[in-house]
Symmetry: C2
Subunit: 423 residues, 2 copies
């Protein structure tokens, strides 16, 4: 397809989404909730249709020789479809953020000012090969009154097309305006690039995927972007830590689910714990299958263990795997400096019994989530009690940390007067 | 200067700002307030130094033949310096937004979660020829705990250099870290472009100026941008309006200060008011020196008045002058459609006595500020009671409408536990 044609498809869908967004802004909660439940039912009723489309994607991925992990992310099953449906029902049960009066006051001249929560408008989601993002994102955007423009990876195109057909039709029958859920079906990169520059139609882009995807979107987009997900997370075990607690937190933060953004990637240990705690925790991690890459001081302490040397790249690495960088630090200051230099501003933890050190760590570490005596793995909308999340923002604008329904809204000022003039 | 050298200057200053931002985040309120007062005093004490520098800029602008309006924006005087100093003292008196606990709760597993207000970090301000922006922005950024990287127009470079020297020195003596207030002194466009792409050092860019500047920043920047200021604002006079009130609001919204973003640019009048109200309000506007450009229906009604025909460009125009586009509309729906098609999402007003029409207008018009029976001219941080403002956001992400100190902050989650693990 030619560039102009590709752009035309994207613009046409974005226009439909924009138009739908205007109607969605005042769609009653009960219509949105009815639609979410209908979407869930439709997914379950038409699961064979979806699974067949998915099988075609999976076959294509296997033929291309894409790895087992890739195919697993792509693969749908009855269980995964049931999970998507359950997710939509959960979202239906959450309170509607639209219409909330965030603040309100009366001015001396009698003007009544209210700041009211409204949808963002049109949200663009750019993602990779997980088809569940299609359904999760559409559900959250709809509940917050937004139209959604979806652009998934080319490997999942059959699955995404089938999923959007099913949920958009169900939503439409329940009274959601045409155009509220739109998939860019052209898998050409030019389509994604066109979408990233449609400032007239798209209010915000949320990329969901690896660091490469997110950086590409940030570099290309003129539409505002919310960066999500890259997590180079640290646990710092302070001199005063309860060592049993520290070991449990370290193992949990690294091993409970290593492939996700809130898993620990670097362990920082106070030098006072080099003799006793350090060998113990490293042994414990190795017994869980973790590969250790350590600083020179750590390696000297662990001479009887086979531990590779950490390079500069290791301090920056988001392994997303059972690999861990380990460094001995002189004190809290050095730990904070290390995190400032190498952290991605996602989730950072200290294990300590010292009140001042806990406060200093929380004050000085600049990240979306800062923990005292808990695993970094809790950075998650569900774990925080926010309900379903659209992603975890690692930027500071608009939203930071797990983003729930409120983060998919904006506000407007509504001002009532009786003829006030400015003098 | 070569591109690499220019980039080096910008990176060096951005690094200093980043370093300062880390210290500023936990700087006590009393130190920030002391610094703001010291900056105000220093401006007044050293006003001759500032005025001399400004005189050089003004001479250069006059030599270049830049117009009187331009020179007026550039010109400083004892009065304007006193106003800048008063602005800093006002900011010192505002509450410190940093440290506010926005929300907090306890999870069933005992985790205590708090969402705490923190500075954004490093804020880049890109602006045109008004030197007062230098001082206003520096004051607001400092109070909210941010470092500021300033990039003003080349025409004001002497003034800005002098102002930053005075205020940065005063701030430093009061205990503000070196690097907290930095001016990019290279006036080459490449310097601004380098700054717009320093995602590693700069957390947000706020352009302040005309539509051209703002669009250039949006198109070039990879750092997140808050768009400010473009205002194509409408007043819709509904069939049921109190006509005296409507006339007063229309004249105020157009004439009280036509050169600013919250002034009305297009008047929409319900067709039922074509015979009586329309000629009356147009007469009143013309008597105030307003040039009218009207739709065909309006012109037919006003055949005895010399009124030019409005073109498509007029509906889109932000005149910032005593020029007004006027259109008769069939009903509320057509008014809302017109605003959706041509408005910039800044400030929109309806004058009506009808309860349903007031609600419908507020619901359906998508703008930062929506008014019933008041002038659009109130969209302003001071008028809203938010204190000094850094600008008026016309985008939906992060902040919308007048931006006060809170809008110069982010949040972080601080989580206390006693060994919680994720299962």
């Amino acid at each position: 397809m030619e560039a102009a044609q590709i752009r035309n498809e994207v613009v046409a869908k974005a226009e439909q989404a924009r138009e739908a967004a205007r109607l969605l802004a005042s769609l009653p909660t009960r219509v949105k909730d009815k639609a979410l439940l209908a979407m869930a039912d439709a997914l379950e009723e038409r699961q064979q249709f979806v699974l067949q489309a998915n099988a075609a994607d999976v076959r294509r991925a296997q033929d291309k020789g894409l790895g087992a992990a890739f195919v697993d992310r792509l693969l749908l099953s009855e269980k995964r479809i049931a999970e998507m449906a359950a997710g939509l029902r959960d979202v239906a049960a959450l309170p509607d953020p639209v219409g909330e009066v965030v603040a309100g006051w009366r001015r001396p001249n009698g003007l009544e000012i209210r700041q009211v929560r409204v949808p963002l408008g049109v949200i663009g989601i750019i993602y990779e090969s997980r088809p569940n993002v299609t359904v999760d994102a559409a559900g959250l955007c709809l509940k917050a009154g937004n139209a959604v423009l979806l652009r998934g990876g080319s490997e999942a195109i059959e699955s995404n097309t089938a999923l959007v057909r099913v949920i958009a039709q169900a939503a439409g029958r329940a009274g959601v305006p045409e155009g509220a859920i739109r998939l860019i079906e052209t898998t050409d990169r030019a389509a994604a690039e066109a979408m990233m520059r449609l400032n007239e139609y798209v209010d915000v882009l949320i990329p969901r995927g690896g660091a490469g995807l997110i950086q590409a979107v940030v570099a290309t987009a003129t539409v505002p972007v919310i960066e999500t997900g890259v997590g180079v997370c640290h646990v710092f075990v302070d001199e005063s830590a309860d060592l049993d607690m520290a070991e449990a937190i370290v193992v949990n933060a690294k091993c409970q689910r290593p492939g996700v953004c809130n898993a620990m990637e670097t362990l920082l240990v106070h030098k006072a714990l080099a003799a006793e705690f350090l060998p113990r925790v490293v042994q414990s991690l190795i017994s869980q299958g973790v590969e250790i890459r350590a600083c020179e001081r750590t390696r000297r302490r662990l001479h009887d263990l086979e531990v590779a040397e950490a390079t500069e790249d290791d301090w920056r690495a988001e392994y997303l795997a059972l690999v861990l960088a380990v460094r001995l630090v002189d004190d809290l200051d050095q730990a904070v400096e290390h995190i400032a230099a190498y952290g991605s501003g996602h989730s950072e933890a200290i294990v300590t019994r010292d009140f001042d050190n806990a406060r200093t760590f929380c004050d000085r570490v600049d990240a979306a989530a800062v923990y005292v005596n808990a695993s970094t793995r809790f950075t998650d909308g569900g774990q925080f009690g926010l309900g379903a999340e659209i992603g975890i923002s690692t930027q500071k604008l608009h939203a930071r940390g797990p983003m729930g329904l409120r983060d998919l809204t904006s506000t407007k000022f509504v001002i009532f007067g009786d003829g006030q003039l400015r003098s």
